[in-house]
Structures are given as structure tokens and as C-alpha cells.
């Protein structure tokens, strides 16, 4: 067993903290902080099995999306991608308003992500570094809201949206998720460690007001955590199903809603449905391949399922 030196660079997780404060203790994201036994062949074999299990359904989506329905459902299913991919994508495109759905998904996920980042950074900063009456109780309130399933409030929410004239519109999906309790919690955790009080003091001495401090001190320090939170929020908003499925309709769906409606039609064509599933999954898979390390680190530091 070895004790790794605390100066070793973090292998994953959030990018290095602000240079103003050297880390005093070993970062919890460092591989050296726990047990450091070398993995034997068994570990690799087990991980490979799990890895194949993780990826196989995604591969199967691609295979099924590139064959005809009859081929997919044959007694011996195909194992290699076929040549019908573009035909099926085309069919899915016209049958399920996928073009509109993609635009809608981008709008919804983009708006939610931008708003969440802005509001959660502000709130996280307030909870991390400002003193005010009721701070502890309010933070407890924020965390408690994480435990309330959306199912409990969808019926009046649906009626409210109709009253507001937002029934079936994207506003009804965007507005309820503008800020997330998880985001507030996540930014608070990060900022209370990464933002030194000295920096805020210095800005105050220079005559900055509070909002100015947010813009020129807090936001730059918070940027790495904001990137992680942004990706997590985008993934979640992109994949959200329950409330959009209730609130939106066939004429104006997000990708997930379109996919659900495609499959709930009377005679869904399997390979066209899978082509739709492929379209809805592919953008996020690309994000995962590019930013996998940051997302992994973000989940490990956030540790709350939203």
C-alpha cells in the first residue's frame, strides 16, 4: 500500500482550484486518497463485461435503426449495421416531426441550462459566502425540495399552464425548471471551497458593489464548476420525459416526446422508432465522448441525483 503524495495532480474531477489558495488537504477526487491496490486481471475482465453491457444496447440501437423491421425482428436478429440507416432516419424525420422536435429540444435544453447556470451561481454564491438571516433554514429548504417528485404537482401545473396560455407551448416546460435545487447545492459546495474571502474583501476595498463582485470575481472563479453543472443540466433537460410528455403535444414536441408518441402510435415501425432513438441519443453521446472526464468528475463531486 502506498500513500501518494498530496502534490500529485488530480487525475480527474473539477479543474484545478483557484490559484489563490493552495489545497491544504488531499483532494477527494485524487486517486491516491483511498485504497491504492493495483487492479489484477480479474478487475479488467469484470470491468470489460460491465462495459460491454453498458454499450451493447447503444450498439443495438444503431443496428436496429439501420435495418428493416422484418430483419430486426427475424428469428436470428442482425448483428452488424445494415444499409437502411438513412432511409429510416428520413422516415422518422417525416413521421414524427423530428426536425421541429430537434429545434424544440435545443431551445428547451439551452434556455434551461443558461438560466440554471446564472441563477444557481448567484444563489450558490449567496449561500456559500454571504451571511444573512435564515441562511441555514433556507438552504435546508433548498435541499428538501430535491426529495419532492414532480408527479405530486403535475395536475395543477397542467391547469396553470392552460390558464397562462402556455398549454402545449415550450414555456410550460422551460419555466418550471429554470433553477434547480441540485444546481444551487452544487455551486454552493464548489464556491465555499474555491472562492477565498480575501478576494471578495479586496474587491470591496476597490469599491465594487455586490453585483459587480459577482461579475468580476465570482463568475471567473466559478467557471469550471459552471461548465460541469451546465453539462449535467443539459443532459437532464435534454432527456426529461415525464412532464414534457404531459405538457406538450404531437404538433410541438421535444425529441423525447416525439419518440414516446412515435412508439405509442398504433402500429409503430420498430426500425423507424430506433432511428428516432438514435437521433435523440447521438448528440449526448458525442458530448460524453468529448467531456466524459469532466462529467464523471462533476457527478463524483456533486453526488446528488436530480
Amino acid at each position: 500500500m502506498t500513500i501518494t503524495s498530496p502534490t500529485k495532480a488530480p487525475e480527474l474531477g473539477l479543474p484545478a482550484r483557484s490559484a489563490h489558495r493552495a489545497p491544504k488537504r488531499a483532494s477527494r477526487f485524487k486517486p491516491g486518497a483511498g485504497q491504492q491496490l493495483k487492479g489484477g486481471p480479474f478487475a479488467y475482465i469484470a470491468l470489460a463485461v460491465v462495459g460491454i453491457g453498458s454499450l451493447l444496447p447503444l450498439y443495438w440501437t444503431l443496428v436496429a435503426a439501420s435495418h428493416t423491421q422484418d430483419e430486426v425482428l427475424a428469428t436470428t436478429p442482425p448483428f452488424l449495421p445494415g444499409d437502411r440507416l438513412f432511409h429510416n432516419l428520413d422516415a422518422a424525420w417525416t413521421q414524427a416531426h423530428l426536425g421541429k422536435a430537434i429545434v424544440n429540444s435545443v431551445i428547451v435544453a439551452g434556455c434551461i441550462t443558461a438560466a440554471t447556470l446564472f441563477f444557481c451561481t448567484l444563489a450558490g454564491y449567496a449561500f456559500a459566502k454571504m451571511r444573512f438571516r435564515g441562511r441555514g433554514a433556507l438552504m435546508t429548504g433548498v435541499i428538501l425540495t430535491l426529495t419532492i417528485p414532480p408527479q405530486l404537482s403535475v395536475v395543477p401545473l397542467f391547469m396553470m399552464m392552460a390558464d397562462l396560455g402556455w398549454g402545449g407551448n415550450l414555456e410550460s416546460v422551460i419555466f418550471p425548471t429554470l433553477v434547480s435545487a441540485f444546481g444551487v447545492f452544487f455551486m454552493r459546495q464548489y464556491l465555499s471551497e474555491a472562492l477565498p474571502y480575501e478576494l471578495i474583501e479586496a474587491a470591496k476595498i476597490d469599491g465594487a458593489n455586490n453585483f459587480r463582485i459577482v461579475l468580476s470575481v465570482v463568475l471567473p472563479v466559478a467557471r469550471p464548476a459552471m461548465m460541469v453543472l451546465g453539462m449535467l443540466t443539459f443532459v437532464q433537460a435534454w432527456n426529461d420525459f415525464f412532464w414534457p410528455y404531459l405538457a406538450l403535444n404531437q404538433q410541438n414536441p421535444t425529441l423525447q416526446v416525439a419518440l414516446g408518441q412515435l412508439s405509442a402510435s398504433y402500429t409503430p415501425d420498430t426500425s423507424i422508432v430506433m432511428a428516432g432513438a438514435l437521433i435523440s441519443t447521438l448528440p449526448l453521446l458525442v458530448v460524453f465522448v468529448v467531456f466524459g472526464k469532466q462529467i464523471v468528475g462533476g457527478i463524483m463531486s456533486g453526488a446528488v441525483k436530480g
Partner: protein, 332 residues
Amino acid sequence: MATSTPTRDAYAPPPRGSQHTPADARRQTWRSRLWRFDDKASPYAYIAPFFLVFGAFGLYPLVYTGWIALHRVEMTGMNQMEWVGWDNFDRILHDSEFWTAVSNTFLIGVMSTVPQLLVALGLAHLLNYKLRASTFWRTVVLTPYATSVASAALVFALVFRADGGLLNWALHFVGLGDTNWANGHWTSKIAISVIVIWRWTGYNTLIYLAAMQAVPSDLYEAASLDGASRWQQFRKVTIPSLRPTILFTIVISTIGSMQLFGEPLLLEGGTLGATGGNENQYETLSVYLYNYGWNLGHLGPAAAVAWAMLALLLIIAAVNWLIGRFVRTSAV
């Protein structure tokens, strides 16, 4: 005002004033009053968006659900609310389908949460070893998290199909090839649990891994000096250190399993989803709520289902809390 001592109060007023001339004293007090207002009000302004959004779209509807549950409201005319008292609750509590949904939700919850967390614990232990390409393995394990409920449910619908399903094709070689997964009471629950396990195991693995890496290595050294084997170290050092995290994931997974909706809705495709199979064999509470409110158009009973879910959630929370207390006290 001392400028050199860093105070812990971020709202400490800025050090200005000592050298100002009497001429602009009035302006200074006005300004310092503004400063003080800025300091007092800013934190509330920064946290206000969260509470406004939650109040408007979370808390208010949650309470209002209770009011709707006491009325007759139809999807076709949502403005006409007719007082019916406890009728809606009466209706769902005497509906055997409701109780089927309750037990389905509970069973699928247990069948997906327990294996999921056990596998996640083992996987996290493996990933905690010093590995080549450790980031690669972590990302691969997490990949299913990138898929939506809809895509995952639709792919697994193909895997679990009775004719031409991938799983039956594979089982065919051991002579078990004709299971009608979605039709059976247990097999359909297994199918749904597999979807949940597939999507969330990687996520929980990373949470456990983060907690494992926070365990001080001296504990392991002390244990190995005392002659503890690897398995003993895992049981006597890792698991106890992870207890709060494990409890946390249990709570979160429980809440998550209360919400299962897309998996059952899309398991078979077509129109069977809204009733959770031809015998409601995999209907969950969320699907039941959807069916009442959005498929049949009766919003009153749907609201009553929501409140029944709240009651169940409180019961589960109480049980969780009791178990947590028991675990804590028995550990000392």
C-alpha cells in the same frame, strides 16, 4: 476600519470614510446607506429566483393538488370544478388497479434498487484499484446515463420482445427461448428493473467511488498491519466509512423508483403502455396517474393519486429514517 484583517463576513462594509471632508459628509452617509442596503438585500435577491420558481411551479401546485383532489375536474373543461369531497379518494382506494399499481411500484422499486446499489458498490471497489485508463472505464460505466428514458425503454423493448427479441434469441441456446417477457407478472417487472439498473448503476458507482476515495488510507494500513485480508478490509473499513453515502443513495433511489414512468409506458410500444400491460402487470403509480388524468381525462382522481403518492413517500421516508437510526445506533 482595519483593512488588513480578513473578516469572515463577506458583507463587511467597505472601508471608506475616514479621510472624507465634511463637505461631502451627507453624500457619504447616503452612499453608505446604499452600501448597507446592497449588502442586506443582495443575498436575498440572489436566492430569490430559486424560491420564486419553486414557489410558483412546485410548492403552490403541490398544495393545490390537494384542493383539486376534492373536486370533479375534467380535461375537457378544466375551468369547471365541482366539489365532490372525498369521492375521488374513495374511487381510487376502491380500485383494485390502484393497489396493483402500488404493489408494482414497490416491487419494481426493490427489484431495481437492491441489485443496482450492490453492483454499484462492487464496481466502485473495482474502479478504486489503480487501473490503466481509469477515466475510460469510468466514462464507459457512466455512458447509459447519457441516454433518455425513452431511448433506453425502446431499445430494451426490442431486447425483451417475445418474437425476435435479442434476449430470447440468446436464451434459445440453453432451451429457454420462448419467454413472453412483457406478458408475465414477474418477467415484466424484471424487464423494467433491468432498464432502471442499466441506466443508473454507473451513476451510483461514481457516487460510491467518490466516497471511497475520501476514506483515509491510514485506516487501510492499520487494517492490513492487523492482518486483515482484502475482503475483510472491504467489509470492515470501506463499508462502514460509506454508510452515510449508502443511506443517501438508498433514499435517492427510492424517490426515483416512485417516479418510474417512461420505462413501463414504452415497454411494449403501441397503446398498451397507458394501462401498464394487458393485466396492469407492470403499471406503476405514475402510469396510473397518467392514465386517469391524461388518457381518460379525469383530473380529480389523478390529483388524488398524487396525494396518495405523497402519503406513500412520507411512509417510506419514515421507514428510511427509522432504519437509518437503527443502523447508526447498532454500529456504535
